[in-house]
């Protein structure tokens, strides 16, 4: 990932949006597949054992990327605050839109990740009880 230092390069925000979009898609797929697995388990909880490493790895990747993007977002906001008295150029306005998009996707990833982790916790508890 490019650093926040490259924020004047229009490609940076586009790449970030693309990356976060892909990540959001991955987490959504993960959540849907987990929901499918749960719906089909019907007491066969041990099936989950083989799937858990995939879920955990994806969530870890999602969180790592989310953390990196959050750092870029915060850096951008700090710069915007410093430059708030200056007229915004078109490039900056476009970047703001991109970062707003990234923020919305991050919130979405965070929500889905939390739901997936909660589901994993419930399954583990069921397995221990069973």
């Amino acid at each position: 990932m490019k650093s926040a230092k490259d924020e004047n390069n229009p490609e940076t925000s586009d790449q970030l949006v693309e990356r976060v979009n892909y990540l959001a898609g991955e987490v959504k797929l993960l959540a849907i597949n987990l929901a499918i697995t749960l719906a089909r388990m019907k007491g066969r909880q041990k099936i989950f054992g083989g799937l858990e490493p995939r879920f955990t790895e994806l969530i870890k990747r999602a969180n790592d990327t989310a953390q990196q993007v959050t750092e870029v977002l915060n850096d951008f906001r700090n710069r915007r605050r410093i430059n708030s008295g200056l007229p915004a150029s078109t490039a900056i306005i476009e970047q703001r839109g991109a970062y707003d998009c990234i923020e919305a996707k991050l919130n979405y990833i965070h929500k889905l990740s939390r739901e997936v982790l909660e589901a994993i916790t419930v399954i583990k508890q069921q397995e221990q009880l069973g």
Partner: protein, 168 residues
């Protein structure tokens, strides 16, 4: 919506009464219309991947993909349901379905959710839809102003000769 008793008769009794076992459905969009498949018939949702063309398939089958060490056919649901294929397929998803050991992937525009279905909310397929895509529909689930068309997995896979691919 005008529903017809004829729907049930024309479809050999595969109407709302045939669905009491349906509890959850995987929901997705095709051409702006939301469809669902019984979750018990769904193995996994995956991203689009390279499709190997060739072979003697019906026109709605695009070829095969490798999935969990199997070669499975890929059904273009847009074509199957009478629309033209999508211009951009990169963001489409594949729903891997299984019915009695026959596995196939169906191409859909996007996945929405896994929805819990109240059987009492499933209605028969109206006449005008029976004439177009009705043969693949089990019924229509109505919740508030939303309609979910429930697809019939055995009928979707009906014209695919699975002998052409390896089965487990």
């Amino acid at each position: 919506m005008q529903l017809s008793k004829k729907a049930k008769i024309d479809r050999g009794g595969v109407g709302a009464e045939a669905l009491p076992q349906l509890r959850q459905a995987v929901c997705f969009y095709i051409n702006g219309v939301e469809y669902g498949i019984d979750v018990n018939g769904v193995e996994e949702i995956i991203r689009m991947r390279e499709i190997r063309t060739g072979g003697d398939w019906p026109s709605s089958v695009r070829g095969t993909i490798g999935w969990r060490e199997q070669e499975i056919p890929v059904v273009d649901l847009r074509v199957k349901l009478g629309s033209k294929a999508a211009d951009d397929e990169a963001e489409m998803r594949l729903v891997v379905i299984n019915y009695k050991g026959r596995t196939a992937a169906v191409m859909v525009d996007s996945i929405t959710e896994v929805l819990r279905i109240e059987s009492s909310g499933v209605t028969e397929v109206p006449d005008d839809e029976i004439r177009s895509v009705g043969e693949y529909l089990q019924g229509i689930y109505i919740e508030d102003e939303n309609q979910l068309r429930l697809l019939d997995v055995p009928r979707l896979l009906g014209d695919i000769r699975f002998a052409a691919v390896r089965q487990d």
